[in-house]
Amino acid sequence: MSYTLRGRLESRLAASVLPFLAACILALALSAWWPLELAGAMVAIGIALDVLVYHRLLQFQPAWLSVPLGVAELALTMAVVRLAGVEAPLEPALWFFACSWVVALLLGQAGLPALRLSYAEDGGELGRGGAALSLAAPVALVGVVAVALAGQPPTLRLAAGVHEGPLVIDHPLTLVGRPGTVVRGGIVVRADDVTLRDLHVVGGEDGIDVDEADGVVIDRVTVSGVTLDAIRIRRSSATVRDCTILAGSAPHVQGIDISFSAHRTMSLVDGCTVLGGQEGIVTHSAEVVVRDNRVVGTSLRAITMTEMSMGAIEDNEVRSARGVGIYCGDYSHCEIEDNHVIGTTPDRDSDDPSRGGYAIQSHFHAVATVDGNRLEDNARELGGFAGGSFGEH
C-alpha cells in the first residue's frame, strides 16, 4: 500500500485505540502505570518513525514489510522504555507489544479496507473518522495525563535545615528535600505509594523504616549515623535508587535490609553506595534485584541474599569486605553476574571456615548461578558450604 503521511498517522492512531483501551484496563487491574507508559512509548515511536522515516523512505509498503518494521519498532520501544526507567516486566511487555502489532496488522490489512471502501486508494486516510481520531488522540493523552496527575500522591517539600523526626508517613506522599534538608531521627513509612527524594536522614535506630507498603520509592537519599538499619524494608516492595549509606563502624549497623517480602512484587536496589556496616545490602525471604551498587568495607558480608530469597545480584562493585563478598544462603536462588569483587579478606576473629575471605559464597542448599564476575585480590574466590552450590549459564 502507498500511504500518505496523513494516512499513516490516522491508520496508526486507529490501530492504537484497542491497545490503548487494553492498557487502561491493565493499568487499572494491576494498579500500575507501565501498561500506559508502554502503550504511549509504542505509539510515540510509531508516529515518530512514520513522520521521520517511513513516509520518506517507503513510497510503497508491501504487506511483508510489516514484519521487519514491527521487529524494529519493538526493539526501539523496549530500548526507550528501558532508558526511561519504565518498570514494565519484560515478558508481559513483549506480549503487549506483540498483541498490539497483530491488531494493527489485521486492522491495516483487513479491518480498515473492509470498513472503508476507499481506504487503499486514499493512502490509509480515514476521512471524517481519521479527523476525529486525530482530535481524540491528544484529548485522550491529556485525559490520561490528567488522571495520572490527579491520582499522584501530594508532594511535600521540606525546606533546607534540620527537621526533627521521626517523621511518620501514613498516606501516599512524595516527600522532597532541598540541598541542606536534614531529617534527624528517621522516617517511618506505613503507606503505599510513598516517595522519598533528595533527603539526608541522620540518626535514629533505623534511618528509614518501611513496613507493609507497596510502591515505595527511595531516591537520592543519604542515611548516616543510625544504630541499626540505614534503610529497613519489611513486608513491602520498594525501589531504592542512587542512595548513599554511611554505615560507619558501629557494631550492629546494616545498610539496606529488605526482608519478609516474598509475597510482594520484586524490589530493586539500584545505584547505591554503602560504606561500612555489618552487611551492606541484605535480603531475607524477598525477591530483589541488586544492581549497579557499590559496597565498601563491610564487616560481615557486602551483599547477602538469604532465607529463600530469589533475585539477581548484578553489575555491583564489592570492595574490601571482611569474611564474604557476595553471599547466597539458605535455599535462596541467586543470579550473580558481572560483579566486580575486590580485596575480600578473611575474618581473623572467626574460626568459621566460611568466613575465610570468599568473594562469592553459596551456603546451605542455596543455588548461585555465576557468570561474568571479575574477582580480584580476594583471599578466596568461590566457596560452597553446607550444600550450597554453583551453576553457570
Binding site: 500500500m1 494516512g7 513510497q59 504487506a63 481506504y119 486508494e121
Partner: protein, 366 residues
Amino acid sequence: MSRCAIVGGGLGGFVAYATLRHGGLEPGEIAVFDPDPDPLGAWLPRAAAIRQRRMRSESDGHCHPRSFPGLAPRETYRTGNLAPLVATICNRYRPTVGDFVRHVEELRDRTGWDESVVPCRVGAVRAERGGFAVDGHGTFRHVLVATGHPGLAVPEELRGDPRAVHAYEQHGYASRVAVVGAGMAAATEWLNALAAGAEVVSVRRREPARRPLNLPRPLFSKRGLAAFHRSPAADRVELLTTLLEPSYPPGQVWDAPLAAAAGEGRFRVAASVDGEEQIVCATGFRRGFHHDPLLRRLVEEHGLETEGRWLVLAPDGAVPALADAERTLAVAGVAAQWAYPAADTLVGMKYVARRFLHRVRSCPTR
C-alpha cells in the same frame, strides 16, 4: 428521473454496478445499457486470444466493492490452502483467469446484474434540466459512462496486410512470427508463439518498462495522485503519455524462456517487420476519447474541455461542466485517465465507482 444509468456493461460498468448495489441502491434504481449482458463479454475473448492464464492484477484486482477480502484470502478460504495468502503478503499473488471469471459470475448472480441490464447500444447522452437523457431511454439524474476501449489499434502500415492479426483476435501461430508492440500482450504473445514452436521477432520502437503493475504503485493511491491532480494540464499530458507507455512485469517467468529462445536463435528484437509469415499486432487499443463515438459526441455537443487525447475530468472522474450537487455525469474505464491514470484497471474502475456512489448518495434527491 430517480434512477442511475450506467452506459456500458463491461467490467467498468459491472464494478460500478456492484458498488452502487453495495451502497444501498436496488437493481430497479440502476439501468445498465449494453447490447451484451455478459460483463466479461468484451474482456474474456481478448484474454482467451492471448492465451492469458493469470491476471496481471493482484489480490485486490476484483470487482467486489470492498478491497478486503481480496481474491487471495477468498481462495485460501475456499481451498484451505495458505499459499495464496503467503503469496499476496509478498505481492506475488496473481489470480488465474479462471478464478477471476468465477468471481465475476458469482458477483453477477449475487448483485442482480441481469435485472438491470437494458440490452441496447446507447449512441448519445445529452444534458437536460436536472439530469441526462440517455438516447430515448429516459432521463437519469446520475450517469456513468463506461464504454471501455474504443476498438483495437493496428498500425497504419499493417492495415489490410493479410499476414497481420491483432493479438486480441483469435489466432494460431505460423513458424515465423513478428510480434509488434512491447507491452503485456506482446510479452504474452512472445511466450505463446515460442511455446507453439515458432521463431519470434519482437518488433518494437523502444524498450518496454518492467514493472509489476501498469503504473508505479504510488499512482494507485492518493500518495501519487495528489501531485498528479495538482499538476498543470500540459504536465499531466506529458506524464500520462510517459506513464502509459508499454510495460510488462519483471521476473524469470518472462526472462528465462526468452533468454533460452534467444540462445537457440528463436527470439530476437528488430526495429521493423521483415518478411515474417505472420504479424501479430500486440499494439493494444485505439487511444483517445475521439475514437469513442459517444464520448466524441458528448464533447462536441456540450463543448466539454479536452486536453490532447484526454477528456478533462474532476479528480473523482466527473465531467466538471456536467456535474453538480444534483446531477452527475462521470466517466469510468480508460476514458477516465485524466482523473486516475490507471483507470482501465479494476482498481481504477473501483476508484471512479466509489466516488460516483458518493455523489449519488450525497445528492439530496438521488
